[in-house]
Homo-oligomer: 174 residues x 2
């Protein structure tokens, strides 16, 4: 079990291209060792679509047309990504996005952490970051639709299921 | 009990300013009488904020800052309104909007029919129109959050509650 603590530092690898990235430091719960994973947090909307496809693939999600993914990203209010940088290589290891009217409501979609990086507190970091940015934008209602197996993940992060009996509902084409 | 049938006709009142409106004809269930209510359906995003405030007031919703309402409307993908036109007067009698990433997901918010016009099938018309436009835009997931007393209204329109155990969840500031 590992808990997380994120220090946002300015990257000093490449000041010009890295200005949108913030370095993330994951601390071991015992605090005797800093697990320095070279993971960066970014709110940059310019996501490599192939890397995102690979990440979604890694958790078994069905493939989606890249053209539509591009449109969906363009029309998302906030996009959070986690990137591991090692030497000259970088790898997308976490992702989440939110749609919003930028006034009252937001909905979180496509929360994913690469299996090799799960259980390190990175899912928590991504959701915290989304919440923080939505709160800064004075969004009062932050919503999401959770698969049964991740309901308790979101509960731990303060999300409430069916508050006051409000029900999530879906319409599907027949 | 009245069911509805909507014939979309071009308005002939004022062809230039009315080009975004479609006339709505509400038919009595017995079909022996056409209840011609002079109600027009519009997808125009230019909503009079004061009229919208009055409409929301009429169903007892809390007042919201108009500045934020304006931003929320600007960032909604689809806005549907129902307007009653009588002589030189017009009145906003129905409203609904949806946020969307324009690729995969949409969420419906702020569905409201003025109490004087409830039970005529207009809520149905508004939701049908939203669904139709979202389907045209190839949105596959149409979602909403329903208060307990309107869950069966949405069920009648084909919405499914917690499909496969997927749960609507909310985060509130502490
Ligand atoms: C769900 C997911 C995003 C969690 O990310 P993660 O980085 O592994 O989660 P974290 O390490 O930040 O976990 C934070 C806390 O939630 C708990 N948790 C994580 N996944 C959980 C799950 N599926 N069920 C219950 N609790 C979970 C952790 O144990 C941890 O608890 P702690 O704070 O008491 O130690 C990740 O497992 C994932 O990408 N899954 C596949 C895709 C998916 O299902 N996404 C959600 C779509 S609705
Ligand atoms: C909910 C609301 C939009 C419904 O609009 P409406 O124009 O009265 O509804 P309609 O006449 O189109 O009704 C369509 C069908 O749903 C039924 N219905 C309407 N309101 C219902 C309700 N609250 N519960 C159960 N069924 C309802 C009607 O009886 C009708 O059934 P039928 O097709 O078998 O005849 C309207 O009552 C309203 O604005 N309420 C206040 C605001 C609100 O609660 N909005 C929803 C926020 S989540």
């Amino acid at each position: 079990m590992i808990f997380w603590k994120n220090f946002f530092q300015n990257s000093n690898i490449n000041a010009s291209s890295e200005k949108n990235f913030k370095k993330l430091i994951v601390l071991d719960k015992t605090c005797d060792k800093i697990e320095f994973k070279d993971i960066y947090l970014s709110s940059n909307k310019n996501i490599n679509l192939y890397e995102l496809e690979q990440l979604c693939d890694s958790v078994g999600w069905v493939k989606r047309p890249l053209k539509k993914v591009k449109i969906a990203l363009k029309n998302s209010s906030i996009i959070i990504s986690l990137i591991q940088k090692k030497d000259a290589n970088s790898k997308l290891v976490g992702f989440a996005r939110a749609t919003s009217d930028n006034g009252f409501n937001a909905t979180i979609w496509d929360v994913v952490i690469h299996p090799d990086f799960q259980g390190l507190g990175l899912g928590k970091v991504v959701i915290h970051q989304l919440i923080q940015q939505l709160r800064q934008a004075e969004i009062s209602t932050i919503t999401l639709f959770a698969e049964p197996d991740v309901v308790s993940f979101y509960k731990k992060l303060g999300f409430i299921k069916d508050p006051d009996g409000v029900k999530g509902m879906f319409w599907y084409p027949r």
